[in-house]
Subunit: 246 residues, 2 copies
């Protein structure tokens, strides 16, 4: 196992940081590393917003409900972005409305931003920083759009906090290799047994970490969450921004 | 600049490989590294299909139009996957239909798969392999679903070919840092000038690489592509798989 794979295997979310801020140079290295990820058909359909303004950070923290959205070394927000493509199409006098309204562009913007984000995560950890993705910004996507002044053809996906770690975090075991990886065709014949075994492993993990106070099964935790009617407004917001018109 | 950042900055797509196949151990390392990427709310909403069957690789190559989809060290296909969540919800007697049909789940599946994919790309390059993403599998998403026998609540995003490089590839310059990175709010006031300067740089790159035969501007290349009505069927296929019902 080489150093890079060792780092990837050692990933954990960090949710507590020292007061030290990232320097402008560190931010630039992270953005440039993010940009070198692959991009669909060279579209580069994303932007990254750094948030340093105290009022804006506070407002984003309220949407997320997490203190570390305000207290970190730097807060980035990843947005899928076809605004520049819209501008270029106007200048060139070519219509791209069918593409921008199609499901394909929503998929491509989400993929492009996410490949860039994960490159940033890897780069940040290689520099000794801890990171955490902030999906909870989607608790109120419309407000994030207003706070970050996002134009049409742009939507926010998630934040990423980066900083000098003030705790160690802890690593959560993933689904077994056999459950995620299929050869030549999708095969779910062992899914029930694999999930039951995984549930038992996760229950043991929580029990140990909380001195027996908590003993969640993965399946119950996950389904309990998905059965709640949350983030149903994402659809409206994304459509208002000009996507998913089909 | 540390070794990991140096590797990220050195990324290029590789489209020609030697005949040597990845070993089962190498495949396992890549999948396990992919799995350690962050996952939205611990959902792990993706699967990875390895394709080694000659007939299936040939069929996928025909969809893509690229020889390297057939000729490589290993072909992976990344799929967004809520099938296991659907199974668990049935077992637990809890309804998650609203979630599965919402735009949020389509976004989450696409993000989860893409963070995993980019971790795999980084891991593969650290082992000396070259990689290339294969978005062109979406030229016929329905046929990919049939070839890989994907059940409902699963859709294919893209492939990734991995192998021992047989050429060096070449690196394409990215948009300038200032164009991708915004502080505290989206600011497009310099976009036209930045794109014009970038167009000139990309034109020079193509001219040099092709002895003057090709001199595309980025904006014209990209908008020429987006103005074509392609992949409009992605919407139908994704809906048929149970997504985007809002």
């Amino acid at each position: 196992m080489n150093d890079i794979i060792r780092q990837l295997m050692n990933h954990r979310s960090i949710r507590k940081f020292t007061d030290e801020k990232l320097t402008a140079d560190e931010v630039k290295v992270l953005i440039e590393a993010a940009q070198m990820a692959a991009t669909s058909s060279y579209l580069q359909a994303y932007s990254i917003i750094g948030v340093t303004d105290g009022e804006k950070k506070k407002a984003l923290r309220e949407i997320s409900g997490q203190a570390y959205v305000e207290e970190n070394g730097h807060l980035f927000v990843f947005v899928a972005d076809f605004y520049r493509h819209q501008l270029m199409s106007e200048r060139l006098g070519e219509k791209i409305d069918d593409y921008l309204g199609a499901t394909e562009s929503f998929l491509v913007g989400t993929v492009d931003a996410s490949l860039a984000a994960q490159n940033m995560a890897v780069a940040a950890e290689s520099m000794g920083f801890g990171i955490c993705y902030i999906g909870s910004l989607r608790n109120d996507m419309q407000q994030v759009i207003e706070i970050l002044e996002l134009p049409e053809h742009v939507y926010p996906l998630y934040g990423m906090v980066v900083g000098h770690p003030a705790d160690k975090g802890s690593q959560k075991e993933r689904l077994p290799f056999e459950h995620i990886y299929h050869e030549n065709g999708y095969d779910s014949s062992d899914y029930q047994e694999e999930i039951a075994a995984y549930d038992a492993a996760i229950m043991a993990y929580y029990r140990e970490r909380t001195d027996g106070k908590r003993a969640d099964k993965w399946s119950e935790q996950v389904i309990g969450m998905l059965s709640q009617k949350t983030r149903l407004d994402v659809d409206d917001v994304v459509k208002k921004q000009g996507f998913l018109k089909q």
